[in-house]
């Protein structure tokens, strides 16, 4: 309380008009800041687009793998991050898409694009089965069902000879215009870009918002008119479609789909990469997917080239151990995953202030808007 002799002000100020248009975040980068960001983004895009040509022939298929894992990560992010569901058997959706595509190509002799559509449909159907169960079960029980479903898919569904070629697997040739490794890598990267675009559209529209609202509080969403059942199933369908398409792309990397490729350990890898990447953040999960796609190769190359500890001991067989350690570290100490650690940079690239996050808030604004843990 001031102790001046001046009289208190009279309320004669005019209320400033509320600016409906300029309601974006008040901060704007400086001219230099804009240019710096544009240069950085430009450089990134150039590098990514050039990668298939830059790397050795041996690694080009790895680039395709990175893209595929990225799409799967986005698929998991929709189900686990946006919808708040559990998915410990995601390899089932992935495999269903792979075998769907392979069946179309090998048995029905359809052109490759049609096979991808088939994969999307089978992926969606495979996911709806779980979606229907998820309407009745939550949490732990749902988790068990997803695991059991994954095992059922791996050991039973994917071994039915008439559908999947049994033990020998099914052929999955590449499309005619993208036959070489480099061309195929570009195709996969293109699909990843489309998936990212789709994800952005999802959260910017009513469907994405409704799905996330359900995750936080079903009752409130219902009281606002959100069709709970419909949007829950939609989340599963979208997740299934993305995973199915990823599966089709995956099958055509090595041009064959075999059941053991789509087992429980892959489901766990998918889960780990999504959590480590940062659930809820599209860039984080894609980075997580990329990391785990290259990790075995990375470890092997490091082992060959660096002869000092720890690389002298660590090779590709250490990948599961490192993955598990990263998972535990993320859950216990760094819940936002890579997205949280890289948060300031990711935010800067998206034309926001470069601000270091001081702990509590999860990667809420960087790409999705949600709480951190699974």
């Amino acid at each position: 309380m001031t102790t001046t002799d001046q009289p208190t002000e009279t309320h004669e100020q005019v209320e400033p008009p509320v600016a409906f248009e300029a309601d974006e975040a008040d901060w704007r980068p400086s001219r230099e800041g804009v240019i710096a960001r544009l240069v950085a983004l430009g450089a990134l895009v150039v590098v990514i687009v050039a990668i298939p040509h830059l790397v050795d022939d041996v690694y080009v298929n790895l680039v395709s793998r990175v893209a595929v894992y990225g799409i799967v990560a986005l698929s998991m992010n929709v189900l686990v991050g946006y919808a708040g569901q559990v998915s410990l058997g995601h390899a089932a959706f992935f495999g269903v898409g792979a075998f769907g595509s392979a069946y179309g190509l090998a048995e029905m002799d359809v052109p490759w694009p049609a096979a991808v559509v088939l994969a999307a449909i089978t992926g969606a159907v495979g996911a709806i089965v779980l979606g229907a169960v998820a309407l009745r079960l939550q949490g732990l029980y749902l988790a068990l069902v997803t695991i059991s479903y994954g095992l059922f898919a791996e050991r039973t569904m994917f071994n039915i000879r008439s559908l999947t070629g049994g033990g020998a697997g099914q052929e999955a040739p590449r499309p005619s215009f993208f036959e070489s490794d480099v061309q195929y890598a570009y195709l996969c990267l293109g699909f990843l870009a489309l998936a990212l675009l789709f994800d952005w559209r999802l959260v910017s529209s009513r469907s994405g918002r409704s799905i996330q609202a359900l995750r936080d509080d079903e009752r409130v969403a219902a009281s606002w008119g959100v069709n709970v059942t419909g949007y829950k199933l939609l989340a599963f369908i979208i997740s299934g479609v993305l995973a199915g398409i990823a599966g089709a792309l995956f099958a055509s990397i090595n041009q064959v789909a075999v059941a053991p490729d789509f087992g429980f350990s892959l489901s766990l890898t998918f889960l780990v990469m999504t959590v480590v990447g940062g659930i809820g953040n599209r860039w984080g999960v894609v980075l997580g997917g990329a990391l785990f796609a290259v990790l075995p190769t990375l470890l092997d190359r490091a082992h060959e080239n660096f002869h000092f500890f720890p690389f002298s001991i660590i090779e590709a067989t250490w990948e599961p151990a490192i993955g598990a350690l990263l998972l535990l570290l993320t859950l216990i100490s760094f819940p936002g995953g890579l997205a949280q650690q890289l948060g300031p940079v990711l935010g800067w690239l998206q034309f926001r202030k470069f601000a270091v996050d001081h702990g509590d808030a999860g990667p809420a604004t960087a790409g999705g808007g949600m709480g951190a843990r699974p």
Partner: protein
């Protein structure tokens, strides 16, 4: 014709009869108060009206239509809006994002259009934003528009919740203890605002509250629940002097609520 009414709604949970034959009717643009001690079944009653519980007996009518078998989403689409005892908001979103989600049922573009990003979608999104800001302004919450819901003080959250429900463009506003945690001054301010809403927006308001004097001072009609059944109903003055009601609240021997 009553805009909202229930006919002998009863509900049982396991061995407990939570509500017995509760009938009430609300006219358009009325403000109705629901009083009763803790555990009387007030929120349970709301849940039955809303659709979160399915009554073991009795019917619920909205605009004369029997909605007893409809899901909560369906009732929301018919103009029913409500707030919750634990603040009912999407916790991981910001205030303005909540108000945009709340406008769910007024969105006209379809699923595919939204996913593809058609131009009319972008126009409609801008309109949703504009409307959200309008409602925030009406509730004096503009300063919080970009604040994440998590971290805002309880009192502000309760107002944000009301703003969100207003954004759903309801005809009937069901408020479950909106004044919890507020002092008498804020409470009175809120009740005045309720009257403004009734006047400016033509809203019908049903309110569960414990601030008895405020409810009696704001409502046109009051119902009192006790142990799951209707103890009394009437205009505020009648309720004020009702000995049974006084006893229910303040124990044996009390004869009025003052």
């Amino acid at each position: 014709m009553a805009i909202l009414e229930t006919d002998d709604v009863s509900i049982r949970f396991g061995g407990v009869q939570a509500l017995t034959d509760v009938s009430f009717a609300v006219e358009k643009a009325e403000i109705v108060g629901i009083l009763g001690p803790n555990g009387a079944g007030k929120t349970t009653f709301f849940n039955c009206i809303n659709g979160f519980y399915s009554p073991s007996a009795g019917r619920v009518h909205l605009h004369g239509e029997d909605v007893t078998d409809l899901k909560p989403e369906e009732r929301a689409k018919r103009g029913l809006g409500r707030t919750f005892q634990q603040v009912g908001l999407v916790r991981s979103f910001t205030v303005i994002e909540n108000l945009i989600v709340a406008q769910h049922k007024s969105v006209k573009y379809g699923l595919v259009a939204g996913l593809v990003g058609a131009p009319w979608v972008l126009e409609e999104e801008a309109e949703l934003r504009r409307r959200a800001l309008e409602v925030l302004d009406f509730m004096d919450l503009t300063e919080h528009k970009h604040s994440p819901v998590q971290g805002l003080p309880y009192g502000v959250l309760k107002m944000v919740e009301v703003a969100a429900v207003l954004a759903t463009d309801p005809e009937i506003l069901m408020l479950d203890e909106p004044l919890a945690g507020t002092g008498p001054e804020e409470g009175q301010a809120f009740c005045n605002r309720l009257k403004d809403m009734r006047r400016e927006l033509g809203l019908t308001i049903v309110m569960i509250e414990h601030h008895v004097p405020l409810v009696l001072g704001t409502s046109d009609y009051v119902y009192v629940l006790n142990f799951g059944s209707l103890l009394a109903e009437g205009e505020p003055d009648e309720i004020r002097g009702n000995a049974d009601v006084a006893e229910a609240y303040m124990g044996e021997g009390a004869t009025t609520l003052d």
